[in-house]
Symmetry: D2
Subunit: 197 residues, 4 copies
Amino acid sequence: MHDSPPEPLRVLGIAGSLRRGSLNRGLLRAAIELAPDHMVITPYEGLRAIPPYDGDVEAEGDPDPVADLKARIRGADALLIVSPEYNYGIPGVLKNAIDWVSRPPRTSPLSHKPIAIMGASTGNFGTARCQLALRQTFHFTKSYVLIEPDVLVVRAAERFDDEGNLRDEATREHVARLVESLERWVRGLRAGAIIPD
Amino acid sequence: MHDSPPEPLRVLGIAGSLRRGSLNRGLLRAAIELAPDHMVITPYEGLRAIPPYDGDVEAEGDPDPVADLKARIRGADALLIVSPEYNYGIPGVLKNAIDWVSRPPRTSPLSHKPIAIMGASTGNFGTARCQLALRQTFHFTKSYVLIEPDVLVVRAAERFDDEGNLRDEATREHVARLVESLERWVRGLRAGAIIPD
Amino acid sequence: MHDSPPEPLRVLGIAGSLRRGSLNRGLLRAAIELAPDHMVITPYEGLRAIPPYDGDVEAEGDPDPVADLKARIRGADALLIVSPEYNYGIPGVLKNAIDWVSRPPRTSPLSHKPIAIMGASTGNFGTARCQLALRQTFHFTKSYVLIEPDVLVVRAAERFDDEGNLRDEATREHVARLVESLERWVRGLRAGAIIPD
Amino acid sequence: MHDSPPEPLRVLGIAGSLRRGSLNRGLLRAAIELAPDHMVITPYEGLRAIPPYDGDVEAEGDPDPVADLKARIRGADALLIVSPEYNYGIPGVLKNAIDWVSRPPRTSPLSHKPIAIMGASTGNFGTARCQLALRQTFHFTKSYVLIEPDVLVVRAAERFDDEGNLRDEATREHVARLVESLERWVRGLRAGAIIPD
């Protein structure tokens, strides 16, 4: 007899930048490549279509792009957020999407969702403040944010090639460790009945 | 002889919520009413039209709503930000507008701009975390954020009427003090040559 | 046959204030009373004796009060931190103790330790900023901080009697919920092999 | 006729680390050396003697080391805080001193005091989170924290010699710019009557 292969894990990857050449989109692509066979990370491509959050609009029903994002989050075992830092904080574009899907609190698909966070910056700080702000926000939504490893890619220009692909081997290993840690996190939270199976 | 009246002060008021009945829009209206004669607070009504920030779009030139907001900020002596808190942070809609006008850093109209912050919540915390996050962001933009008084309106439903107008006298006095303090702040920063006249 | 009673759970309770009449010490006493039979919350009484953190002193070996606190944390299944907020942050006295026991990072007893946080304030904000700062610090130490319920006791003077005992029934239920949630958290993290058994 | 020399400026420099070889103490020494002739930065050497903050002790009168620190702050035109980051936050030793001198709020010597912040780390982040936490705390105390330049010295081991003296020329220029900026800040706040002369 032998072990059956693990249940496949579906992860929704959300890049916080809309720019085509974004290093953070490249960092997400690296995670997709480095994920083990039984983990599928699907990049979310609808961020641009999310309208500005407005409680009056919400009262008439979620706009289609919001309903679609909520369904994708609900259907995912975990989220992987890969974001630049703007102005010592979360990009407004990304935060606006979080604001929509956090509503209403009791039925938000973010509630009890396992989440991993990464980020890359061209400078020295590797999105340190943005990641803290994301953790603060995901505490409000009662999400389960992975605690290690922290992946803060500093001086990213040295580590990515001209097509925005991550080439630096040490950083790739770091990303691979985060992806594996996310899998243990999801399976552990379920095995411990902290989140539903 | 007598003193000439003070130079009029133009303040751009930005509410962080798009909802028509927003308490924070009501709080901004209160500030407009309570401002002294020589201070004109104009509410910014274009937030909904600001597109999602995208560096590729920016590279082709600011979209009209962004150019308009930058011009309004440049033409104002100060900003008054009145915002709800979403998910322990800044509403994405508001942060997205800040992300646009913060660019490029060297010529951003936020640089050295005096800013006052207020907020109201129906619960107990009066946007405490959002205000801290705004201060953190406006530190990055090198703006001069007023340090007192803090205006955090808690349990706002008790203080506003059904039309969303601020009725509570103590809170109105608090708002009036903030507006006066903002004026001294702007005039003081100029008199001290901390910001250009 | 019948279920055996659950393994007893030992929790170290740490109040962030040294003041005898501290509301936060009273809040910790309430948790001790409200804990189920098989959970023993022991208040830590040594905070005052922890010397100021100094890397040169540390290099010569942990002072006795530090070694004692490390042993108590190691011997506990979880921590319960009950702290006032000082100056929008963590009381220095409490942070200094955390700084000591966080060292060295690889063998810190805080690493992977389950932690719950509560706080009370006489004003409106219920230690909101201190709790966020504690979460940020305990992210660095790779501790597992409970995500719900948040217990932020506002306007505490209305809820405690003159001896500093928590009398407000709704708040007592809130504290009881936190204590129960902490138990599920510890047992879940172990059952899921997220922390060692 | 000629300009009279500027009034001398007295700055109290406070290092957040007690370690003799601390890089942050070295960074403070660099600021002392680089200050212009008419600015005297005096290092505060009493941090170790500040007792743990306790409201009951305070009620009986400030302990001597606290009274001494309050007097030094009152006698200074500005503070220069140079601190490491511990556990994504302010060193408890430093925060404890701030907690004492912040009391009571109405007469605290921190109120309206101009303050500059710097920090150095051996790693990549240059005390980014500690500086944000200090800004948050000094907002509570209504202090006037300098907004630019930010001095976050990353990978400090490359920049200091074995005696802990700052050798890196670019960093020394950065420190010199901060010191000059602090002087303009103090003189500007006074000229603008934002703080008393």
